[in-house]
Amino acid sequence: MAEFNIQADSVDVTRIMEQIRQRIREKRGTDYTEQQIRELATVKVERFLDPRHVRSDLVEHYRQLEPPAALEPIPHERAGRAPGPAPEPVEFDSHTIYMSSRGPMGKLIRLIRKLLNPILRLFFNPDPVVLALARQGEINAWMLQILQQESDLAERVTKQFERAGAKFVAREELDALNFEVLNNLVVEMTRLSLDMKNHRMLVESVAGRLDFDERRARALESVVQRRSPVSPAVADGEVDESTSSTGSGRTRRRRRRSRRRPQTAETEGTGTDNAAAAGTVTQSEATEPVPSPGTATPPGDTAAPAGAPPRSHGVPISAPAVEPSPADLQQTPSPYAPDPDSAPAPASVSAGEQAPAPVPSIQGPSDAPSPAAAPATERVPPAAPKRDVGPDDQ
């Protein structure tokens, strides 16, 4: 939080809150992209989808779950408890107690009973009994009707249960299918997880290589830039354009020549090399003094005393992984330098190198890419060899 210039009476809470909210907005914009915010918003969902959170023993666990017991059909009527046929309803009224089933004699009996009825009433009143029995007959009929309705209802419920049972059976089949799908999903997620790990390692590997290449390129560029300001070739506007990226065969040769300088001094200036054959040698090579063997030369140390032996050391074109000092570059051969016996590539030579042979073709200063780059190197397009040069000085 930036300090506020604070006088107590100048504090404005509203303004402070605006500043704080502005800072929160800026922080959000800097720290989180829209995609990240969306990811944060869906983090809860992803917790369930993340394969890392899937239990590896989920399938086994699922398999160990006991399946529900199969549904047994409920018997509609248990044996031995069948109700049997319904009894016939009996109609009962006030005359029923006097009736007789003996035909014509029965009429006489009924008549006698009716005659004796007053005597019977001396003992008890049959009317309530008659009424109760009659009402019981009605109740029985009513109950029978209800039972009939309930029976119909039970039948419908039974059908519903049968339908539900069928659904349960289908559900069990679906569960088996779900299990299979789940199993496949877990397998696929595991496979995807492994693939993802592989791809991540692959990406890291590629990124490492890319990083290495970039650093190597930077090292090369920096070496060239350090050496170029004092180059007479720059002053003359004669600079090899391909210095920073090509011509490794040339450099390798020059370094070797540098090491053997005491023995091969008399051959200097007479032979040419592959780079020269490719026609990309800077003129400065002819004027660059050569340090004594084993002496590291600082980058700007090009003002050698007049009459000193010409410098013939080469600059390794392929830089090491870490950016070396120019002295290291002069003394330590790059392990990544291409094989000098391979086909000659367009060489590039730093401005301080000595050219053992006249430059076949040099692009003029007009090809300098930018004023900023011009003092360091001037790019010279590789040209075809105009003549077959002599034997290599090696």
């Binding site: 939080m1 506020f4 604070i6 809470v13 929160i24 959000r28």
Partner: protein, 438 residues
């Protein structure tokens, strides 16, 4: 002049907001008038159980007349009726039933007001939402002043209270936000009202070192004072603080007050429980700032006390009252999310110059508006004004609808009504003088 202070509970050891407020007001107005407190025998605001003897007694030199509560609160019944009136379309009968269920139902107190109300020049009712205030104002409306202590809660949206807001002689608001809410819900702009609040008695020389030595707490301190309750925003506070402390350790959150929820075990959280006033003020003086996480406050006395001690406040920005007070006083910041909590807290803790400036502003705000002479003067001026002005309304309260009308379910849910009310900090008061109030 004889004044009656009518409040749901009263006692020297009761620390509820409205109850403490009423006691302070009664004790300070007693220097200028004859004051009698009318209250219930209850001490527990959950059950309203009669725990004190009915009758007359003295509390800190103030005569207190207690009346029994006729029925304790049935929590299930109250919850059911609350859901009915807050969440569903309902009738006036349902609101009255809710009020009876809420309590403290003390018909004898209302009867006393009906019979002896003429002996008081004015009756100052506290807390609009309780039984005693609703029925008491209907009985003594020509002499009734109301200290609503209203918050943005669904009870404010009930129809029955609107008539009381319009029917009292004057309203003594706690904040501009409260006044805006009540004006909006009841259209009572014509009723005299003044934003008063309440003062606080803060020791002149608290000793923060005593607190540091007693507790062994070093480094910056964030303090919370009050009931440790989820309804007070403490759960959110704990969550935010733990997240903040995981990135910026070294800050200590001191909690003062009785917990009614579990306090997380965290090395940076120090619950001290209930402490004496002296210890409380020592702790507040030792703190770098006060945190007030409650989303519902009509007036935070502890906030005022922090400002009186020259301590800045970090308040919940969802509470209109706290947010408005921070803006008007320029003495506190506020937050509405974790990001704002972290930024504002870091701003105050890390910027000593800002902290000091906010504290100076808080102190000035308190001195201007919330010292007792100012509070007393506001009450007395209002009473003088009411003496001069004839009551502008009839003596009888607005009649309730008939039997069928009271049962017609045509009222909106209370929560829905409150959600439609204007939100946010109230516009500036237009100066520090309450004379601008209508």
């Amino acid at each position: 002049m004889k004044l009656a202070v009518v409040v749901q509970r009263y006692g020297a050891d009761l620390n509820g907001g409205a109850e403490l407020h009423s006691r302070y007001v009664a004790e300070h107005l007693a220097r200028h008038a004859e004051v009698e407190v009318l209250t219930t025998c209850a001490t527990d605001y959950i059950t309203w159980r009669n725990e004190l003897k009915p009758g007359f007694e003295q509390v800190n030199g103030i005569p207190v007349r207690r009346f029994p509560v006729s029925r304790e609160r049935d929590a299930d019944d109250f919850g059911r009726r609350s859901t009915q009136v807050f969440e569903e379309p309902h009738s006036i009968a349902a609101e009255l039933a809710w009020l009876r269920s809420e309590g403290p139902t003390s018909p004898s107190l209302i009867h006393h007001l009906r019979r002896h109300g003429d002996t008081y020049d004015y009756c100052i009712f506290f807390s609009y939402r309780y039984y005693h205030a609703y029925h008491g104002i209907r009985v003594a409306r020509r002499r009734a002043l109301l200290v609503p202590t209203a918050e943005r809660d669904p009870a404010l949206g009930l129809r029955i209270f609107g008539e009381n807001f319009r029917g009292v002689r004057a309203l003594m608001y706690n904040s501009y936000e409260e006044r805006a809410l009540i004006n909006a819900v009841s259209n009572n702009e014509t009723v005299p009202g003044v934003v008063v609040g309440v003062g606080s008695e803060v020791p002149a020389r608290p000793e923060p070192q005593r607190f540091r030595q007693a507790t062994g707490i070093e480094g910056p301190v964030l303090i919370y004072v009050g009931r440790i309750d989820e309804n007070k925003g403490c759960r959110e506070l704990f969550d935010y603080f733990e997240r903040y402390a995981s990135r910026s350790p070294g800050l200590t959150l001191v909690l003062i007050g009785n917990p009614v929820m579990p306090v997380p075990t965290h090395p940076g959280i120090r619950p001290l429980g209930y402490v004496t006033d002296r210890e409380k003020f020592d702790a507040m003086a030792a703190a770098d700032l006060l945190i007030m996480p409650s989303p519902y406050e009509s007036l935070s006395m502890v906030t005022l006390e922090a400002w009186a001690l020259g301590r800045p406040v970090l308040a919940n920005g969802r509470c209109d009252v706290l947010c408005g007070q921070c803006i008007r006083s320029n003495a506190g910041l506020y937050y509405q999310s974790y990001e704002e909590f972290a930024e504002t807290l870091h701003t105050i803790v890390s910027n000593s110059a800002l902290r000091a400036a906010l504290g100076v502003n808080g102190r000035a705000y308190f001195d201007t508006h919330y010292t007792w002479p100012v509070i007393e003067r506001k009450y007395l001026d209002m009473l003088d004004r009411l003496d001069r002005e004839a009551p502008g309304q009839e003596d009888r309260p607005e009649p309730l609808p008939g039997w069928l009308g009271r049962r017609r379910r045509d009222l909106l849910p209370g929560r829905q009504v409150v959600e439609r009310l204007p939100a946010g900090p109230a516009p500036s008061a237009g100066g520090s003088q309450y004379s601008s109030d209508s």
